[in-house]
């Protein structure tokens, strides 16, 4: 349910210039990128280049998200989220409410589901391996992503790289998960609490994989665990990863790196259909070889016989010549 201010924020025309009250940086809006419950994101032009700018009438939500992004920027190595460029307030003409905004790097890419649709399901496991690395880093820092779902995963590149978007749900470990989406929430499935811990994110990763193989949107019907097992067993690709998925669903992984190891091992195993082909190939090769060996043996015997015969003849001629005066 959008309030009036938010609606107004959604319809700002291209070319609108936003100037911050505190830091006096200016941004020219180009086009809207998307909107959520708390604010609207625009593509904008700035002195530093093209950026993403999130406007909101809810300065508390903006401040919370900025706090998270600031913490992430301190983590070296893996980029956990878009980097924060500016935070400020905007005195909007005609709008009575106080508007806050923050500016972050614009990450160009496709969302997870679109990428998989274009490039094939074999990418699911591979991208999830990347995601598990990122999550491991996040968990080491003492956070849990919380609202993990395909819509919050952006695939940039080449080479295809997973980036996390929308840090609204990111929560300190030990607290209650701030924001979540039912389908990916283990509480909804009756399979755990909403306390922020690494296993909460890993459950969502399992559901992401399961949903990517299901044409229809999943909805819990009765016994959640049993339902998930039957969905896994009904799909060829999911069956291959059944052990990993069930371990994640049951919350048995303490660390994302453990799940990543298991997933890697499962990917490495040959597919059930491939192994059947290989087996039949092997038997064909075996029979061919045995036939060859048999033929080889026969040939060998013939050759030996011929050689002996020739030698005998030669010997006979020699003896004959010797004997004759």
């Amino acid at each position: 349910m959008m309030n009036h201010t938010l609606k107004g924020l959604c319809n700002l025309p291209a070319g609108t210039v936003i100037t911050g009250k505190w830091h006096h940086q200016s941004y020219k809006l180009l086009k809207p990128l998307g909107h959520g419950a708390n604010g609207v994101v625009y593509l904008a032009e700035s002195a530093k280049g093209i950026v993403a700018l999130k406007l909101s009438d809810n300065s508390e939500a903006v401040t919370s998200e900025v706090n998270v992004l600031r913490r992430f920027s301190k983590v070296q190595g893996v980029a956990l989220g878009p980097s924060l460029l500016d935070v400020d307030d905007w005195t909007a003409p005609l709008m009575k409410k106080h508007i806050s905004f923050y500016v972050m790097e614009y990450i160009r890419g496709e969302d997870f589901s679109t990428f998989i649709r274009k490039h094939g399901k074999e990418w699911v496991a591979i991208l999830l391996l990347q995601l598990l690395s990122v999550l491991d880093k996040l968990h080491q820092e003492g956070w849990v992503f919380g609202d993990l779902k395909p819509e919050n995963l952006l695939i940039t590149g080449p080479p295809p790289t997973v980036r996390l978007l929308d840090v609204g749900g990111t929560t300190l470990q030990g607290r209650a998960v701030k924001e979540f989406t039912e389908l990916y929430d283990r509480g909804y499935w009756g399979l755990g609490s909403r306390k922020a811990e690494p296993s909460y994110d890993l459950f969502a990763v399992a559901i992401i994989m399961i949903q990517s193989c299901c044409p229809i949107k999943l909805e819990r019907k009765g016994d959640g665990r049993r339902q998930l097992i039957s969905i896994i067993q009904a799909d060829v690709m999911l069956r291959k990863y059944q052990t990993v998925l069930m371990k994640a669903i049951d919350g048995k992984y303490k660390r994302a790196s453990e799940m990543k190891q298991d997933l890697l091992a499962a990917i490495g195993r040959p597919d059930p259909s491939h192994s059947k082909q290989r087996a039949s190939q092997k038997t064909v090769q075996k029979s061919r070889r045995s036939k060859q060996r048999k033929r080889g043996k026969a040939r060998g015997v013939l050759e030996t016989a011929l050689i002996i015969a020739v030698l005998l003849c030669a010997y006979a001629v020699y003896v004959y010549h010797q004997v004759l005066p």
Binding site: S59, E60, T63, S64, V66, N67, R70, V87, A176, E182
Partner: protein, 244 residues
Amino acid sequence: MSRGTLRQILLITDGCSNHGEDPIAMAALAKEQGITVNVIGVLDQDTIDESGLREIEGIALSGGGISQVVYAKQLSQTVQMVTRKAMTQTLQGVVNKELKQILGSDVSLENLPPEKRGEVMEVVDELGETVELEVLILIDTSGSMKTKLPTVKEALLDLSLSLNARIGDNRFAVFVFPGKRGNVEKIVDWTPEIEELSTVFPKLTSGGLTPTGPALREALTYFERKRSLRSLIRDDESYFEGSM
């Protein structure tokens, strides 16, 4: 800053009150007593008319809380969102008051530069996580609510799942209006886990008027009461008494 306890009334209704005092006045009374009143309007196939909507918004506004009108399907998510938002709102009010006392009367969260605001929000977030919370849930059981009651039950069980993930303690109490013997009836006394909702809900009957105002007024008096020892023993008996 004293931590204290956050007190909220969560009113779930599908229409206008039509009996007893003005609920908006009762909500203002609640606010004076430090109790926030949030309202959720639930729709199924029906719609809420203009006056119903105005009343729902009015109650929340007077009660210093949040109102939202949703379809039954989104009830779970809405109940949680409303409760959390209201908590943050109340806590911010508290923090703003403290800031004014320390830094002067023209200072509020919005007047602080973004960097300072970040620090204050961290305090608010931490308070939100650790503060004790008491939520008294008032459920409308007039005739039209009959089909929505199962969804209400699910939403409340889900709310307790979410809130119990917090570090701070929670207590819930559930009342329905109209009650069997009066405007309001208590169906769950103050407790941290509302699992008993599952057994109590199927026994609820719906029908009668919508005495929202009297329900709010009576609910206010229950915040001071702790769960009585007698009621722990008499619990089962009182349910059977009602159904006879």
